[in-house]
Symmetry: C2
C-alpha cells in the first residue's frame, strides 16, 4: 500500500474520502470540476487505475458496464434489482473468515471483496403480478 500519490491521485483520494460513498469516474470528473480545478477525464481514469493497483481504491462494475469507485473499506454490499436497477445497501457480511483462509491457501494478497445479490425487489414483484 503505497502512500506517495501524484497531485491528481491525492485530490481524488480527498474527494472520495469526503464523499464517503461509491462514485462513477464520470461523476468524479464533474465533482472535481465543481470543487477546485477541473481534472482531465483521462487523468481521472488513469489515477483511479493507479489507485486500484496500489490497493487504495476499489471498483464495482454495474450491470450497465459503468464502474463505481470508492476507498477500500468504505464499501458496502448490495441487493440489486435486475428489473429496475435499484440498489439497496446491506450491512452484514459473512465472508471475513473465508477471506483469511483464501489469503493463506492461495498466497493471495486480498485487497477487498465484492458481494452482491441480484433479484427482484418488492415493487417490481407487485408490478409483475398486477400485469398477469
Amino acid at each position: 500500500m503505497k502512500t506517495q500519490y501524484t497531485r491528481s491521485q491525492a485530490r481524488i483520494v480527498r474527494v472520495l474520502k469526503s464523499l464517503n460513498a461509491a462514485i462513477s469516474a464520470q461523476d468524479l470528473y464533474l465533482e472535481l470540476k465543481n470543487r477546485e480545478q477541473p481534472l482531465g477525464l483521462a487523468t481521472v481514469y488513469r489515477s483511479l487505475e493507479a489507485l486500484k493497483l496500489q490497493g487504495t481504491v476499489q471498483a464495482r462494475t454495474l450491470p450497465t458496464g459503468e464502474s463505481l469507485y470508492s476507498l477500500i473499506s468504505q464499501d458496502q454490499h448490495h441487493l440489486t434489482c435486475v428489473n429496475c436497477g435499484q440498489s439497496i445497501p446491506i450491512d452484514e457480511c459473512p465472508v471475513h473468515n473465508l477471506e483469511e483462509r483464501l489469503q493463506q491457501s492461495h498466497r493471495f494478497q486480498v485487497y477487498y471483496h465484492t458481494l452482491e445479490f441480484f433479484g427482484r425487489c418488492y415493487q417490481c414483484q407487485l408490478i409483475d403480478s398486477a400485469n398477469s
Copy 2:
C-alpha cells in the same frame, strides 16, 4: 421463473447448459455461429437480457467492462488479481444463510449472488518485490 423461451433464447440456454461455464456475449455469438446457424449479435444481447429478467441467466461483469453470462447455479466465485487479471475459481461460499434472511427482511426475491475477491496473486507479488 418462466419456462417459455423464444427460439433464440432456447438455443442460448442449450449452449450455456452444454458449456457449463460463464461466457461473454461475443463469444456466445461465435459459438452459435460454429454450432448450427448463426444468431445476430443484437439478438444474443436481447435474449440474454430477457433470460436475466426471467431469472434463468446471471451475469458477472469483469473489470474490463465486458460481462460473462451463465445459467444461474452454474456460477462459481472468484479470486481475481487486480494486476494481471487472472481469475481463480473458489468453491466455498458462506452466504446462503444471509441470502435467506435478506429475502425475508427486504421482501426481495433473490435470483443469485456474486462474490469476488480482489487483490494480488502470488506471481505478481513476486514480480513486485523483484522490481524494488
